[in-house]
Amino acid sequence: MSAPLLEEFGRGDAREREESWRYSKTALRALAQQDYAVADARAALPDTLLEQFDWAATRGRRVVVVNGVFSEAHSDISGVGASVTVGESAGNAYSIRIDGDIERPMHVVYANVPSAQSSRWQANVEVTVVSGRARVIEQFIGAQGESVLGSLRRRYDLADATQLDLVSLCELPESVAMYRLVEARVGAKARLHTTHVLLGGRLQRLDFQVDLAGSEARLESRGVFALRGRDHADTQLDVRHLARDTACDVVWRGVADARARGIFRGAITVAQGADGSDAKLSNKNLLLSSSAEIDTQPALEIYADEVKAAHGATVGQIDERALFYLRSRGIPLAVARRMMVTAFCAEALAGIGDADLRELLAQRVQAVLPAE
């Protein structure tokens, strides 16, 4: 096994890491066999990348990180307001402090830009929500070229009675791999709402751990992966109910076409003393080709009393009867298939309040299938 990367990527002890990487071992090993130079933080962003994130709606509230380093040139935080403080402790470690409501979302962009040889970067970000309700859109993008391996560790700390809405879009070309570790702590009566969309990439791994640490803390985790070609995405969600009357509601959808590979592991633990907690997990997956593969693994461990828990996971194929029904009304096959994919993923995107953003994500998801 690719020891150096395995030590770096993942959580828990050696055995837990080994276990959690079981479906993605080969992909990780292939990554580990390469030599990497340090990615160039001053690499110029190609126009194709600039266009991807230059949204009119988030101008003035945008932070751009190029190969792990904050880019003064591309960022514009003139409209952020006093509630947000961005600090930089080292070249690739940042802290963001949010104190007070943010009405319009912050847009944080992580760009993977290739060099003349394989390269890698890493960064650490800590986000603390001290008070109010914060909104963040994060976007991971990359340019095709020599391989880039990015790794990002983040901590979200939600103080009591705060709220964070996070929308995360990670859309990568096949020459980029990303490891993401997200650790969140949700305080009493605080609420974390996340929507993750994973598209493309040689290897995308998301380790997402949420501690519902204060009573009545709440997590809503939504997510979609839509994969094609030889994309490989692996999500490991780990929710821990540590206090009374905490709730989590997990809705993830996965779609894989061609020879793509998707993995979703959703583990929920209700610790001793976390009585009266409520845990819901729904994971449905759709295979669009016979060479695609999706593995889903829900896991529920309960050590508390009066817990409500429900979980379900499925892997299936497109309903041929529905497809024929659409076609029999004149809808071309390719359009009908896209409609089915969009419908399949709709529930996981429904929690995004901003209709334009929701539409953008739905469009990106349905692009997993060709238009014609």
């Binding site: 529905a322 024929f324 029904y325 076609r327 029999s328 809808i331 071309p332 009908a336 409609m339 709709a346």
Partner: protein, 266 residues
Amino acid sequence: MTGKENENMLKIENLHVRVAGKEILKGLSLEVKAGEVHAIMGPNGAGKSTLGNVLAGREGYEVTQGSVVYGDKNLLELEPEERAAEGVFLAFQYPVEIPGVNNTYFLRAALNAQRKHRGEAELDSMQFLKRVREKLAVLHLKDELLHRAVNEGFSGGEKKRNEIFQMALLEPKLAILDETDSGLDIDALKMVADGVNAMRSPERAFLVVTHYQRLLDYIVPDVVHVLADGRIVESGDAGLAHKLEEHGYAWVAGRQAPAEAVAGGV
């Protein structure tokens, strides 16, 4: 196709179809002219829905012999969506629920895809909604059904009426109604019949599959066929339906049996 009255719109000759390795249609022949309404009756499992599915282009229905000419085209060569755009419409015996696909969105996508195929301008949402409202009124369907997912949570009768509503909206040339009357209450049956009768025209033909004489009192057919064991075994005028109601299918089987009876007697 020309769409003139008295011209053959659909010509099926000696059609043999296998489903899941089993021969279901065994030499079916049928001719339908523009402007006509043909009723197809016949026992359960005779192959009526199979015929509808083959005409609409469903996968898994293997044509081993025979031909289907629609206008001047070989229908069997067209994809389902091409058939729809050329004017073929199947009202399903069991309409499919499609969770997550909004009904209005679906209908507009369908109508505009057909129009695009025919080289007509696509309808914008105002034009589309105007048309929808007109057709909804005819079938007394609630507006609210449009905001739901396709057929999701519709009652049995609502599903059937929704099929006819779609037909009214898409204005096909050849409409195949597969037991649209089954499961309808008396009022709904009238609405469906009204919907069909309002669309009868010299350019349009209907194939109405039904088990019940009652529908044919409202939609009076030009020809009634009996489909049994994969073939049309008897054809006649509207009076044939009454005879069937009285005597049952055994009566037809008895009239058709001679050749087989002789063989069986040897």
